[in-house]
Subunit: 340 residues, 2 copies
DNA sequence: AGGACGACTGCAATCGAGTGCACTCTGCAT
DNA sequence: ATGCAGAGTGCACTCGATTGCAGTCGTCCT
């Protein structure tokens, strides 16, 4: 019957050596300090007793927890699970664990979470929550704690980040619509306090300009959040005052809201209005009509961010990295040539 | 400028007392052992210095981590995020944190995860992964570690569990179909190694029997996983050999696969075949046609399970609880009266 | 022969908080 | 005056693993 809790002393006693020797024998990095035969005995003893080092004790001594905090706005937003999955799997390869917390984009909640994570001595942070001028982020930088931002990027260039190529994505969307014959193109813009909202807004105007087109105010609606309700509201607003034949929504969730609004008004997509999204989250291929959107490599973004963070946490590289991952235009049935 | 790491000794020094006294003054449970005035001074000092106790050190001494492990098959399955969210929020109310890990229903991976979690001294486990005769589960029970199973239940009655009322849900589905005039009803059954697959299978036959109907082999398809591909395969199989007018899928993901298969065969739902799901995961209202399904209280299931686990971890109650939460039939457009 | 060096191993301190035990001191009763 | 209760505080050890330092022993060189 195995002991309830096997400690290093047990292993040492079983192998007939001092705990210090046992410790050295069991760690890859210090094993060379120990006689091969002794090391073999210790390892055998550890195996036999089913020894598993107590990470708490190790942490207290070394200051490392082999844990990274992952801060996301809301896990129930389908954009995030694949990213988190990529992060967790990658961290696990190095025996690191992720501590996940939801912030709901709420500053107060973010502060609470940050404190809780720091009390737990996490070795690094992956932020999917960064807003411009982020207090949390600033605090981490100040204290020299490894950080990587994902999806949203923050102001400073001195923070590692991973993102999808928003510019290329929006450009692809605009090119596609123009190629189909659209010239009066409207936009449902995301919150400009978030880098994604801002960047994609700029990208749309830039993309249109390339084709000699403009984005006048009456064809622009500003969403206060990346939510279906806001998408619906914005589309309704646009329907009232514009003659646009296509709408570029800043993300899929907003696009779903746009489709809702069209249905509310008895209009059909794409006949009366083409609609596009961004991200290609789950089930976008099952909508009516299936949504034309931009696919970003969700899982890969998680993987990349975890890799960069691991490099920093393990001291392998202190270099600031900005990974911009390639996107893919996914043309489905929510876009078609204009009928007006 | 605040010190990088404020320790208990700093607080004690600042208040002019011994660390032991400071410790007692700061803990609710031992504060009465300390002079009120002294305690006030210590608390003031702690506040002033921004003291935050080091949870690692506390854990080493007390054996408690204020952490619970949450084992799920796969975070990217939309069934789980709302449950996890409920768990996290509820744990946070008591300053507990969740450690989430994906197992992919893989026994080997499950073992690895279990070891990692135990090395981290988690105080309890919430399993959304339990299969019948679960090795992981057995190990936890043996070592008297608090466990709650969610969604899937395990064999033993001595383990707390939270689940939705599968029987009532399936019964509601069957009643609904029969009321619409269906009598030849087929089923896409989930994996029988999982309690949900098994329970719903039994519930379907029971539900049909209540109406004097049967579920013959040619109207039964067995899915090897709760996946869209398997749903598609099973539906295809059924289409080949039966005259059923409705299909009850064991969950939404399978139902989505069924819809795929119908489309593949040029059939329309619900005209040619009614289809039902289970769980009412995200976007089931956006499918073509919107899916008739059973809504389970996802978030609430997470909340309940966390509550039960907290009770056990805090030693407030050792009683085994079996919570069965009420469901709701959601009738949409994937079901209609049979045309044959 | 004497010294130097290197390979191993053990000792003891450390990380930060919590807690049993012992001590001091005051106030009150005998 | 002596004793005693009890409040308040400090001392020292504990949790388990890691690591700087010092010691032991054998070997090799001059």
């Amino acid at each position: 019957m195995p002991q309830l809790k096997v400690t290093l002393r047990d292993v040492a006693a079983h192998a007939g050596v001092h705990p210090a020797t046992a410790s050295r024998a069991l760690s890859e990095a210090t094993r060379h300090q120990v006689n091969v035969e002794t090391a073999r005995r210790v390892v055998a003893a550890a195996h036999e007793l089913g020894y598993e080092p107590d990470l708490t004790a190790r942490t207290l001594r070394t200051g490392r927890t082999a844990t990274a905090a992952v801060l996301i706005p809301d896990l129930t937003n389908p954009l995030f699970p694949p990213i988190v999955r990529g992060i967790e799997d990658t961290l696990a390869e190095r025996d690191f664990t992720a501590l996940i917390a939801n912030t709901d984009n709420d500053t107060e909640r973010e502060r609470r979470v940050l404190r809780a994570m720091r009390a737990r001595n996490v070795d690094g942070f992956i932020l999917l929550t960064a807003h411009r001028n982020d207090e949390t982020l600033a605090a981490l930088i100040r204290d020299q704690i490894p950080v990587v931002t994902v999806n949203r990027t923050a102001s400073g260039p001195d923070i590692s980040s991973v993102s999808a190529d928003d510019n290329a994505g929006i450009a692809a969307i605009v090119d596609h619509l123009v190629a189909q014959g659209h010239s009066r193109i409207a936009a449902v813009v995301g919150p400009r306090t978030l880098s994604t909202g801002r960047a994609r807004y700029k990208a749309i105007t830039a993309g249109l300009r390339k084709h000699g087109l403009q984005l006048p105010p009456e064809r622009t609606a500003f969403a206060r959040a990346f939510s279906e309700e806001e998408g619906r509201r914005c589309m309704t607003e646009l329907l009232a005052g514009t003659d646009a034949t296509a709408v570029v929504a800043a993300n899929d969730t907003l696009a779903v809201g746009c489709l809702d609004a069209l249905r509310d008004h008895g209009l059909t997509c794409p006949k009366d209005m083409s609609v596009t999204g961004f991200n290609d989250i789950l089930f976008m291929d099952k909508l009516t009509p299936p949504l034309t959107t931009v696919r970003i490599p969700h899982t890969q973004m998680g993987v990349e961010s975890a890799r960069i963070l691991l490099d920093q946490m393990l001291g392998r590289s202190a270099a600031t990295t900005h990974a911009v991952l390639p996107i893919e235009l996914i043309v489905r049935e929510s876009t078609a040539a204009p009928t007006r």
